[in-house]
Amino acid sequence: MTRGEWRNLGVGLAFISPWIIGFLAFTLYPALASIYYSFCDYDVFSRPVWIGLLNYRDMFTDKVFWKSLYNTMYYAVFSLPLGLVISLLIAVMLNQQIQARPLFRTIYFLPSLVPVVASAMIWLWILNGKYGILNYLLGLVGLQGPDWLADELWTKPSLILMSVWGVGGSMVIYLAALQDVPRELYESALIDGASAWHKFVHVTIPMISPVIYFNLIMGIIGALQVFAQPYIMFGGGGPNRSALFYAVYLYQNAFDYYEMGFASAMAWVLFIIIFFLTWVATRTTRRHIYYAGE
């Protein structure tokens, strides 16, 4: 590199140094330190003491750990596909030439702007077993709604239902992708006699497949890390710990029981799970994703 290029590099680094310092101090260092802590008995106050794999052994023999993992997986398995499909359907509908389209787009996007604490409080009332509006509506069609928040069978479905409410974010991404699909592909398909369904399956889906893939990966990460709503609505885990999610149990260990080493180990196991699922998702969807630039 010439002297000038060195200088430019220096200038560039100096300008991004606040971010670099922030990244090193607040992301990289804590992440690396937590690997070390996961092999230690560490309570924040005193120096960490090396205990080898004990935290991991305790974790895998802890029934509550497995329950929290099961709850989280259950939630992810249902909320993720549901969210992907519903947000895509809404986006497709909102991409039609209908009247007051911007208004509908705003309405459907609005819930994802509501702060999570506020929406959790509202859902507490919507899902109230006796006075909740959901059970009232079910009552109108002759169904007796369950006690969503107090019955362990219904706590996870409640949270899955709530997750669908916040699909506005991924819907906007789908909308952007849908508007990018070349019109001439639809015209060619029409000339070939394709129905609306065929156009959707053979033109729309392949053309927006990178965005579906993006939403899938972000969805996996988001669903496995879900914390705020179950924590606000169920605190310690709800009836029979049916709403004790992985991130909530991790938080409990760290900040209620001062088991930072155990919590760090949990965090790394979660990282490995997410990493693995993302890898699987990437491997299995690779052949079905169409990139125009390739």
Binding site: V11, S17, P18, F45, P239, Y257
Partner: protein, 482 residues
């Protein structure tokens, strides 16, 4: 032209680099590398930073005491800051080496924070100030002590009592001035007060639970209109119902006693409620309860006639249901031949975190709060009673809670209990809550659920104890030096 571009690049580069560095320094400043803010007021007084959890009228009561202290001398200025989730924030601030000078915690935090080295032992300061155990109602002094050291002084205390609704008693044909005197009597009275809606001859009629036929009781096809009592309301003491049956959750040394016969007996009683009234009926009825601090609180809205509640309940009655006809009495025990009642004592405390910059000045403030006039002002402001051994006659006489003497007497009685003073209380408490939930939901028998608690917590307890015994002597020597 090439030369000019390069030169301008160089000049611009230097300037850019300086700006970049300035930004970096500014960012580093936010990481805590700048000089800490001054610890003096403009007139040279030492600032004592005090974190407290209270808001509303409770916060105002403490602020009035802080203002009095600030006016009473010209050397120290206490700066009170209201902090939510104070125990966690104090933990992180202390671990980070930048704690407040005084923090208002809960007594159950004391053992864990003391053992973790997060608190300053107060023994030396107490000796100098001439403050001794005799100055306090014994249970509150005990709540501030751990391993032979005193770690905190009380701010406001509380005990629990049976609160009952006199009107609901009268409506059910019971003497409104006579609360139950045993658990068995409480259960009977509760059945008599409980009103249910049941279908008879094609009509929905309201009858007392005690008047239901055996078949109606068996099928449980009724809706609850109001309840005499249910042990899960408000549900804050589910882990410790065993105390009323003579159980302890910990032997004080090396064993958790969650599955003791007394505790199993207590949780059999606990489970008798969903068995008697029907789990689904209770759940549906429970869903109609509003927030605790609201007029829809089930006790305040006359949906539940009897509750175990703390001395603070008066404030909520006064605010949300001043018309309520109520009384407070000791909550009766199961086996009254052994002991007539049980109460649980809790306490808010003031501590000096380890590493506080002005520990001496902080103690001066704590000492001031623990003088009789200041303590009575604080406790009167929060409508509680004083933890001090001696209370002025005016304090009791002028107290707005007509039953305040009940709470004081219980605190002084031999029937007062506390939650286990062990660093593992949070774990044990959470496990007991989960067990109580499984028992109440009829998922497990009391034996099964409590055995799970015993196994899980004992394992953790053994590990913690082993670790603690290894460092105990070193810690105690360290505390003596402080």
């Amino acid at each position: 032209m090439e030369t000019m571009r390069r030169r301008s690049g160089t000049v611009g580069g230097c300037r850019g680099m300086k700006i970049g560095l300035l930004l970096a320094i500014a960012a580093a400043g936010h990481c805590g590398c700048v000089r800490p803010p001054s610890d003096r007021t403009a007139d040279g007084r030492i600032i004592v930073d005090y974190w407290e959890k209270w808001t509303g009228f409770e916060g105002d009561a403490m602020q009035a005491v802080v203002d009095d202290f600030n006016r009473s001398q010209n050397r120290i200025f206490v700066r009170k800051l209201t902090v939510s989730q104070i125990d966690r924030k104090m933990m992180l601030a202390t671990a980070g080496g930048n704690p407040p000078d005084v923090a208002g915690l809960w007594a159950f935090n004391v053992p864990v924070y003391a053992e973790k080295g997060a608190l300053t032992p107060l023994n030396r300061y107490l000796e100098e100030a001439g403050i001794t155990a005799e100055d306090y109602i014994p249970v509150f002094w005990d709540l501030c002590s751990h391993e032979g050291f005193v770690w905190a002084l009380p701010s406001t205390p509380a005990t629990l009592a049976l609160h009952w609704n006199k009107k609901m008693f009268r409506d059910a044909g019971l003497d409104p001035e006579r609360p139950p005197r045993s658990i068995a009597e409480l259960d009977r009275m509760a059945e008599q007060i409980t009103l249910v809606r049941v279908e008879r001859a094609g009509k929905r009629v309201e009858v007392r639970f005690s008047e239901l036929t055996a078949e109606e009781k068996r099928t449980k096809k009724f809706d609850i209109v109001h309840l005499g009592f249910v042990p899960t309301e408000p549900g804050w003491w589910n882990p410790v119902w065993g105390y009323w049956f003579g159980a302890r959750l910990w032997n004080g040394k090396d064993r958790i006693t969650a599955d003791s016969p007394q505790n199993i007996e207590a949780f059999r009683w606990f489970q008798s409620y969903p068995r008697k009234y029907g789990l689904e009926n209770l759940r549906r009825f429970g869903a109609s309860f509003g927030n605790f601090a609201s007029p829809q609180n089930p006790f305040l809205s006359e949906k539940v006639a009897m509750e175990l509640q703390g001395v603070w309940m008066y404030n909520f009655i006064d605010k949300y249901a001043p018309q309520l006809e109520w009384g407070a009495a000791p909550f009766p025990a199961a086996h009254t031949d052994r002991f007539p009642y049980v109460t649980i004592a809790e306490c808010d405390v003031l501590v000096i975190p380890r590493g506080a910059r002005h520990a001496k000045e902080a103690f001066e403030f704590i000492r001031y709060v623990n003088t009789r006039p200041a303590m009575e002002k604080l406790c009167m402001g929060q409508r509680k009673f004083s933890p001090l051994a001696r209370m002025s006659e005016d304090f009791i006489r002028n107290h707005p809670n007509p039953y305040i003497h009940v709470f004081v007497e219980m605190a002084r009685s031999p029937y007062v209990r506390t939650v286990p003073q062990t660093p593992l209380w949070m774990v044990l408490g959470d496990e007991m809550i989960a067990a109580a939930d499984r028992i109440f939901s009829l998922i497990e028998t009391p034996q099964q659920a409590l055995r799970t608690v015993q196994k899980r917590v004992q394992l953790r307890f053994d590990r913690e104890r082993e670790r603690w015994l290894k460092i105990r002597q070193r810690r105690i020597a360290e505390w003596r030096r402080l």
